[in-house]
């Protein structure tokens, strides 16, 4: 059980220390320094599997696309059905390519943004 005297001393000490303690000097770049010192990103196993699936998908859609075009070439006519199938294969190919390259675009974009921000701050 705390004595009344101790409680009073605690209150006074708290007030004195909070008002009288020197503050740590402001460090506006602190967060940036910490983030710059973080270890390199580690690619997780899931990320490798994801990339492999995208690559496999790209190979499959490319093979089917080429095969389909050569078939169309042989038949010498283009029906609405053929155009729809070709459209689906092309859309799949584009989606897989985007999914594969999107993280890389993001990294390039972020690095550019950080460079621009750094230059703006220096100016």
């Amino acid at each position: 059980m705390k004595r009344n005297e101790d409680i009073k001393t605690d209150e006074t000490l708290r007030r004195i220390l909070k008002t009288g303690m020197p503050q740590a000097p402001a460090s506006p770049w602190f967060t940036r320094k910490v983030l710059n010192r973080l270890p390199d990103r580690q690619r997780h196993r899931a990320a490798w599997i994801e990339t492999a699936v995208y690559l496999a998908g790209l190979v499959i859609t490319t093979v089917y696309g080429v095969k389909f075009i050569s078939l169309m070439w042989d038949e010498d006519e283009l029906t609405l059905n053929d155009a729809a199938i070709y459209g689906v294969i092309f859309a799949l190919f584009a989606m897989l390519l985007y999914a594969l390259l999107e993280p890389w675009f993001c990294r390039v974009d972020t690095a550019g943004l950080q460079r621009r921000n750094g230059m703006a701050r220096r100016q």
């Binding site: 000490l13 004195i16 009288g20 000097p25 460090s27 967060t31 910490v34």
Partner: protein, 176 residues
Amino acid sequence: MISRIEELALIARCIAADDRQAFGRLVEEFQDGLRRFLFGLTMGDAALTDDLAQETFLKAYVSIRSFRGIARFKTWLYRIACNEYHAYMRRCHLSVEEPESSDDMEEVHAMIDMRHDIEVGLRQLSATERSIVLLFYIEDRPLKEISHILSMPEGTVRVYLSRSRRKLAAALKEEL
């Protein structure tokens, strides 16, 4: 100040996606308090404060998967900071338990400014006592949390606090 849920969401983003922006947000949130605590602990050494604070955040990032979420992130962070400070003291062969009894104490005594009285008071405390004083009076952490941060029983913290209170009261008797 971020809520507990927001704090956990940021930690989850760090763990699941190695999200550095989320970690940056945590650093922004907790750096002021942590640097203030370390500044007091290092007796006003700004360079050492920044070094220890950076090391603390780096250690926190590397071992963030071991954060169980039972205590607050801040408590966990302060625990790492205390360990870092004690490791630094050991590296420099400085005693954690013995208060400094330097010759310049007399010079400091001669100054009647309150800031210097506080410095004199804090210099009379051991590193552990100083940690407890800073956490209790400046950071307003409850005794239970302090015992968790310093990995010692609550009763021991109480004894240390009582001893520190007496020493500080003696050093600051003009202000009291």
